[in-house]
Amino acid sequence: MNLNLLFKELQRNALSFTLWTLVISVLVSLTMSFFPTFLQNQSKVMGMMTVIPKEALQFKGISNFSDMLSPLGFYSVNNIIYMMVLGSIFSVVIASNIILKEEYNKTAEYLMVRPITRGEIFMSKLAVVIFFIFLLNLVTALIGYSTIKLVHSGPFNSKSFVVLSAYTFLLNTLFGAAGLFISTLVKRPKPITTLGIGMVLFFYFIYTLSKITESATQIGYLSPFKFVRLDAGSPEYKLEPWHLLYFLGISIILLTISYRIYRRKDIYT
């Protein structure tokens, strides 16, 4: 790892990180601020929900309406959109650009002629990606936690909250690894932001499709979203070991392949 490159990358990506964190935090806080109103009007909302098709609710991540009556249930339903989908988009965007932008911005010829190995470049940039994904998750989780505490004075399972946050981090990290992987496959340098965002939305679409269509249940296993437990209100809620293995395994495999490709890749600007 090269500290000179690491600090410069932290500096270079700080603004983008701040904006994404701000947007997600505001969305999470705003949504949670509706929770007391939601509880007060639960009979009216319940009436509304009966009109909405079951599939449409499932598309939104609501499998059981009563889940939403707990602060954690309400948080997890909304969390999947804000923190999981948006967080994954942030992860894939930062990861797919952090190496590739040196090529399409034509700065690679200044960086790669320095006494630094490709392995050091890769590891330094990977450290920045993981740091920002972790920080985004930490800040948004802390804001989510504080907002829940603000809007709900009753008992609240902190352990489940931590597990849900861990799932979010693992999912975001996997998409970060996928972003890095795709960027190392690009031969002619150009931004692949749209491709990255498309990939996250595609997997989210597959996941929701598998939930609303019985015949498509199996297809859901192609999507990393399928391996996130969202029933945070459930008493048996925990981080499944095989889910942990899935996220870590896929992420490590993608990063190892990316590292190997990058070390032997022809760099064009």
């Binding site: 270079r12 010829e109 200044y110 006494p115 630094i116 190995t117 032997r264 760099i267 064009y268």
Partner: protein
């Protein structure tokens, strides 16, 4: 005997089925200013990019100061400076910030006096942001970053693009001065005048292959002469031919100009039996030699 600084052996690079370079062999000795000339697409940048480990060769080896360009790339880059033909510094940085950033990779102390000296030589404001600079000023930044860490070998890929004539002249002065202090220069260009002005050794690359590697004076003297003849009558000019006539440059009325690679005595002897009113035999310019090789 001079030690080789660059030693390229049987180096080839293919892009799929397309040829980049083919079986390139090249030796650049310590202390030389070595010209590497060829038109666009001949393989100059491909060769340089392999030397800098930006791309990988299909086969063959390349060494810099005895070190393999792939396996010992990091050690090599500690000793090498590079001016790319077309690269951007980080637009959001100020010039001084960018230069310091580059220098820190070399674990070198920030040499402010040298940075200021180079900047004043090229009339470059270190406090300006890179994004605000013109193409010429960006090239100046590129020149300074390549020299700040006092490299032993400087690799230049079309280094004068964007520089005005005054700055070009200052750049050449700087190169000559650094060369006198021991720095070897590998100068890739298609602008032959600047190669002619600076380089002692030159290699010509054509369609991915080195077709000539020679001392620049020997290249001029040994091989080609430029001959102008004004004949007394037009028919003699039209029918003139001789062994060693390489390329007719101009044939008009009674005048004939051509490149000649044969024996000069035989030419004079041949002409002695003809009616001519003028004869000029001169050294061709590097450009003319270059064009000759590319015909």
């Amino acid at each position: 005997m001079n030690q080789s600084v660059i030693d390229i052996s049987d180096l080839s690079k293919y892009y799929g089925k397309n040829r980049g370079i083919e079986r390139v062999n090249l030796v650049v000795n310590e202390g030389e200013i070595f010209g590497f000339i060829g038109p666009n697409g001949a393989g100059k940048s491909t060769t340089i990019r392999i030397l800098l480990n930006l791309i990988f060769p299909t086969r063959g080896t390349a060494k810099i100061m005895g070190m393999d360009v792939i396996k010992q790339s990091k050690q090599i880059k500690q000793l090498v400076g590079y001016i790319p033909s077309d690269a951007n510094a980080y637009a959001s940085m100020k010039v001084q910030e960018f230069l310091s950033y580059c220098l820190r990779f070399h674990k070198a102390k920030e040499d402010i006096p040298r940075m200021n000296d180079l900047a004043s030589r090229f009339e470059l404001d270190l406090k300006r942001k890179v994004s605000e600079l013109s193409m010429g000023n960006r090239k100046k930044v590129s020149i300074i970053q390549s020299l700040l860490h006092r490299p032993k070998l400087l690799i230049l890929d079309e280094p004068t693009t964007g520089l005005d004539p005054l700055m070009q002249s200052r750049f050449f002065e700087l190169l000559t001065s650094e060369n006198k202090q021991g720095m070897t220069v590998f100068f890739s260009s298609h602008i032959l005048n600047e190669v002619q002005m600076l380089c002692k050794q030159v290699a010509i690359i054509k369609e991915g292959k080195i077709i000539q590697q020679e001392n620049i004076d020997t290249l001029r003297k040994k091989q080609l002469k430029k001959v102008h003849i004004v004949f007394e009558n037009q028919s003699a000019a039209e029918s003139f031919t001789i062994r060693g006539l390489e390329q007719i440059l101009n044939r008009m009325d009674r005048q004939l100009s051509f490149m000649f690679s044969g024996n000069i005595n035989q030419l004079v002897q041949h002409l002695s039996g003809m009616e001519i009113s003028n004869l000029i035999i001169e050294e061709p310019s590097l450009e003319e030699i270059f064009m000759h090789f590319y015909q």
